[in-house]
């Protein structure tokens, strides 16, 4: 047991914090207002190596541990939820499955430019009929007769980094088998699909409540041909790949939720020291003090869960339960802390300039994406009742 960060992690954190304060915070209001993807900021992060933190050096990454990556997402989220999720989706949902399941050729061709920051990644699993019930995927992939290409047909929705990303991990069903009871079951496979492949286009851009600068798009596949060698992992094992990838992604979202909560707390502490009513700073009132005490305690508890999950990813083969607990708790803390932050700001909290209302809007999505809070509870209780 060691609750102290070592020097290396401390240095990394201060680097991330400096970047967030200098490069991200000044644009956060604007990114939310205009709903524009922060391309310039992303270009800077790509240049500084933020897009491949946990990827080994031989594949173009920084070779750091999951905790360093988690701290990066956390520090970005303190000032801008949008920027944090761009890094998280790219790293956890696109780089990680290629690193885990890809062939050497796939790693050289796709992972290296992704980790180096030359390309941006995304992950396409969700469909209109398949959200929490991921088995409902309707997108279909068929191998051509000569076995050289897969043909994809279908669509995906709510894809983070959609249209901005160059490389997509896409799940489609490739086989239908009968189980012992004669019921038909779809077998899924994972594919690497490049932007600009003929037959692959973008549909609706979603107008969201929060993380408004994050580019959330519908992906459309109409007779989209991709090379046979772009199958990721084993044919028919796609569902397991998706689930394992999401275990890691949940640590990233937990880090984002943690950062949003901490950012809202930091601002609120500053505000209650300055704001005066009844001749005193409102921080002098006991209600304010107790609320802040609760918020700080919640943040700390969430942080320990998130960091523990990051450590489990480093040391364990299966870290799904730690990831689920971290995401569940951190997301609900983020929602609670940001709501209270708005309240402690009073009327000003409801004004966009004061930024805590944005954090409250951004917090809500952390309870929903990469598995809703209810899914996390299913995962956790499933393990308890095994």
């Amino acid at each position: 047991m060691d609750f102290q960060l070592d020097q290396q992690h401390e240095m990394a954190r201060s680097l991330f914090r400096e970047f967030a304060e200098k490069e991200v915070k000044p644009h956060a209001i604007d990114v939310d207002e205009t709903e524009e993807f922060p391309r310039e900021t992303v270009a800077k992060m790509q240049k500084y190596g933020f897009m491949g933190i946990p990827v080994p050096k031989e594949y173009g990454g920084q070779g750091c541990d999951p905790l360093t990556y988690v701290m990066c997402v956390e520090e970005l989220a303190k000032v801008c939820g949008t920027t944090a999720v761009i890094v998280s989706a790219h790293t956890s949902l696109c780089c990680d499955p290629i690193l885990t399941y890809g062939t050497e050729e796939q790693k050289q061709k796709y992972l290296v430019p992704l980790a180096k920051g030359e390309k941006l990644g995304a992950f396409g699993l969700t469909e209109p009929m398949a959200g929490t019930d991921a088995q409902g995927v309707q997108t279909k992939a068929v191998l051509t007769e000569d076995g050289k290409e897969w043909v994809l047909n279908g669509s995906k929705c709510f894809i983070t980094n959609g249209k901005e990303a160059d490389v997509y991990i896409i799940f489609a069903y490739t086989d239908v088998v009968e189980d012992k009871k004669g019921r038909k079951q779809k077998k899924f496979s994972a594919f690497i699909v490049e932007k600009d492949t003929p037959g692959f286009t973008f549909g609706t851009k979603e107008n969201k409540m929060g993380i408004r600068g994050s580019s959330t798009y519908e992906l459309i596949f109409q007779d989209c041909h991709i090379p046979a060698e772009n199958l990721l992992g084993t044919r028919g094992k796609g569902f397991a790949i998706a689930m394992h990838t999401l275990d890691g992604g949940r640590i990233g979202i937990a880090a984002q939720a943690l950062g949003i909560a901490e950012g809202a707390l930091d601002r609120t502490v500053e505000y209650v020291k300055e704001r005066k009513q009844f001749g005193r700073a409102i921080g002098a009132f006991q209600n304010t003090q107790f609320q802040l005490a609760n918020m700080a305690t919640q943040c700390e508890a969430a942080k320990l869960l998130v960091y523990q999950a990051a450590d489990a990813k480093k040391t364990k083969d299966y870290y799904g339960i730690e990831a689920a607990k971290a995401k569940l708790f951190a997301a609900e803390v983020a929602m609670d802390v940001t709501t209270k932050a708005v309240q402690l700001h009073g009327g000003y909290g409801y004004i966009r300039e004061y930024e805590v209302e944005r954090m409250m809007r951004d917090a809500k999505i952390t309870e929903i994406y990469e598995g809703t809070s209810e899914v996390q509870r299913m995962v956790i209780s499933g393990a308890l009742l095994k």
Binding site: N153, S155, G203, I220
Partner: protein, 352 residues
Amino acid sequence: MPRENIEQYKGVFIFAQQVDNELSGIALELLGKAKDLANDLDEKKVTAVLLGENVGSLVDTLAEYGADRVIVVDDPALKDYRTEPYTHALASVINEFKPEILLVGATAIGRDLGPRVSSRVHTGLTADCTQLDIGDFPLNAVEGQEQKHKQLLMTRPAFGGNTIATIACPDFRPQMATVRPGVMQKITPVKGAKAEVVEFNPGFEENDCYTKILEIVKAVSEVEDIQEAKILVSGGRGVGSAENFKILDDLAKALHGTVSCSRAVVDSGWKPKDLQVGQTGKTVRPKVYFAIGISGAIQHVAGMEESDLIIAINKDENAPIFDVADYGVVGDLNKIVPALTKKIEEALAAKG
């Protein structure tokens, strides 16, 4: 107070609606039904009541479609439909001729006229009937209650079509019903058939109760509101382009329907948002809904699953739209839709 001597009331009457001296289709449909009812009652005669000005030329048509007798009230006061003089005329006919049954079409005119008349002659009226039978009332004998035979059993959907009510009017005459157009069948016209014509004058006095008609406007309805349309031809992403919606326009035109679409089409900029069906668009309940090139995600289906009849055309046999469709065609909509349009046009042309 039940009416005395309801036995005096005999015969099946229909109100023969005419507008601009043209018989409305419902008048002929009612005649067809009235003949069936008359047979079940061992009444051999069906009477049409024709109100208007200079409408004598319509008598023969009524005869060909099954009227044995036509009571004509011909008066300038009846030139255009107005509530008061028409009510006066029809109520006077009832008081004079004492029909057992009187059917009125559930058109805009009939829905206005029927209740006025029934209240004036103090009898019951069932609105918007879809089925009429002769039978016993109560339907199932109740101990200690007299069962009346040969009543008109009037069946109509109630509560927005969620329940079906069968209603009888045992103690008052005539038994009145307004009947939904398009439900009853016309008979094949008997060429050269003649009917007994009875001229009747109830006496009109213009008075303040009479509506003054300032202007009658004949609107050519461009059905823009997809929620009002009876037939919707709805296209999805599978249609492929804004230009290609022409084949849906043609089908809609052949069916006198309206084109609607899915969200994907609106997002692609092919159609305006007003035409979008679904959770974030409009909820529609047409008689017929064509889902063409629409995969059928719940976000769309939620807006149209209440349609009476759903016909899906999609190249993917696993598309979820087929789970809600009554009829489905798996194939290329670019071939199927024009072929379908052609068939429908031919069938309609053959029907005249």
